[in-house]
Amino acid sequence: MFKIAKYIILDIIRSKVLIAYTLLLATICTVIFLSDSDVIKGLVSITTIVMIIVPLVSIIYATTYYFNAAEFTELLVSQPIKRRDILLGEYLGISSSILGAFVLGVCLPVALFALSATGITLMVAGGLVTLSFTSLAFWASTKTRDKSKGIGLALMIWFYAAIIYDALVLLFLFTFSDYPLEKAMIVLTALNPVDLARIMILLKLDISALMGYTGALYRQFFGSGTGIAFSVSMLFIWSVLPVLLALKIFSKKDL
């Protein structure tokens, strides 16, 4: 398993896509920090951008890589290696590469310019979002048979998490505005890794008032120690559950 991961990382390092991604993230972060002396504002801007780019790149890159490596996976399956170890090795290799890009592109500038509790929250949240979306990419890839369908499904997941989800929540709020929705909203947030991460960071930034009328409730729930623990563990589940499902599908899949 670790051997496969090692070779995948070596393969990815030699390609230019992930290097471009790292440079893009690093440039965005550095430019934002340099152009504005207010570090907090800078972190907010980075959060906004990171929560769109990171899930998109993670899920699309992992899906594309999975399908491009389909024949390689076939070759490995014909070798005396457990199917489980093959897929886990691939997940480990791909996710750690993308995570590495995130560490170099975002964590490093943030650590240099804005090392604070908020900065660290951003690093952790972004890292977990990377893992969640790579994990989702594996689910999407094993669920579908061909590359175009796989990437289509991956894009749908991203659209759902980054764009459609907010609209759905608004619709939900409008429709049921006569009822107390606080508890329901917390459950709803847990259904979207991007939202979990964003709220984690915004609450640490202490600008939850900007988040409308449920902001206070979030603050009460998420701002406390248990709230952070809840969101981190939910994100953790998002990083593990899809890959477990993918393992289950892959163990029965015809290649």
């Binding site: 496969i4 070779y7 393969d11 030699r14 490596a69 024949e71 399956v77 014909s78 070798q79 005396p80």
Partner: protein, 239 residues
């Protein structure tokens, strides 16, 4: 001759299409089996079932007597050459061989005959994505033979190879047979099967039409050429 691989009542359906309809057969060591059949007759699916790449809906696959469905350990006795070999784009040929050695953890001395015969060493620094189809086939062939496997499964091995490379491969296959190995080959080139095969299996629409030694087939039909034997046997059925 020991029975190495045994298939019993293998069935496989893809969607509505039944690709393998109750396949039962066994393969012995020291034998070259040529699997023939029209396109979509289930040749590759059968091979992939043996390798655990396709998981049959029903039936047992046995290797040296033990049931091996959904296990992986027996694959260390098998060398497989796929129809189209594709490898990580950025990896160089040398790295690919090193990786396979590393992954397989083989403690036997690797068989580098084909690497030498195809002069692959001089191309060790070339990335896989820059290779032509034929060179990739050579790499696949070298990989299949590298671990001295007891069973060789070659899926259309000569498609895309030049005549010289084909000849080298044929000699290698015959040498392996002499080492009491089992070689399973699918091919559309009849002259080639005729030259190599001891036993011919003909698949048609997911069933074994016949599976007999070549000599017996020649006796039965009174023909020497495999092409004619096939025409004779298959038209007789239809008439």
């Amino acid at each position: 001759m020991d029975t190495l691989i045994e298939l019993s009542h293998i069935k496989k359906t893809f969607g509505k299409l039944q690709v393998l309809k109750d396949i039962s057969c066994h393969f012995e060591s020291g034998n070259i089996v040529s699997v023939l059949g029209p396109n979509a007759s289930g040749k590759t699916t059968m091979i992939k079932s043996i390798l655990g790449m396709v998981i049959p809906d029903e039936g047992d696959i046995r290797f040296c007597g033990a049931r091996v469905n959904k296990t992986f350990d027996y694959k260390k006795y098998i060398g497989y050459m796929p129809q189209i070999g594709r490898y990580p784009d950025n990896m160089k040929i040398g790295q690919l061989f090193d990786m396979m050695l590393d992954i397989r953890n083989c403690n036997k001395i690797p068989d580098t005959d084909l690497i030498e015969a195809y002069r692959l060493k001089s191309m060790y620094h070339k990335p896989m994505r820059t290779l032509s189809g034929g060179t990739r086939q050579k790499v696949s062939a070298a990989l299949a033979f590298m671990f001295n496997p007891d069973v060789l499964i070659l899926d259309e091995p000569t498609a895309g190879l030049d005549p010289f490379a084909t000849e080298i491969l044929k000699q290698k296959i015959l040498a392996e047979k002499a080492n009491n190995r089992l070689v399973i080959i699918t091919s559309h080139i009849l002259s080639e099967s005729e030259e190599l095969a001891d036993t011919v299996m003909y698949l048609y629409e997911g069933k074994i039409k016949f599976y007999e030694p070549l000599a017996a087939l020649q006796m039965e039909t009174g023909e020497q050429k495999l092409g004619k034997i096939l025409t004779r046997l298959l038209t007789e059925e239809h008439v």
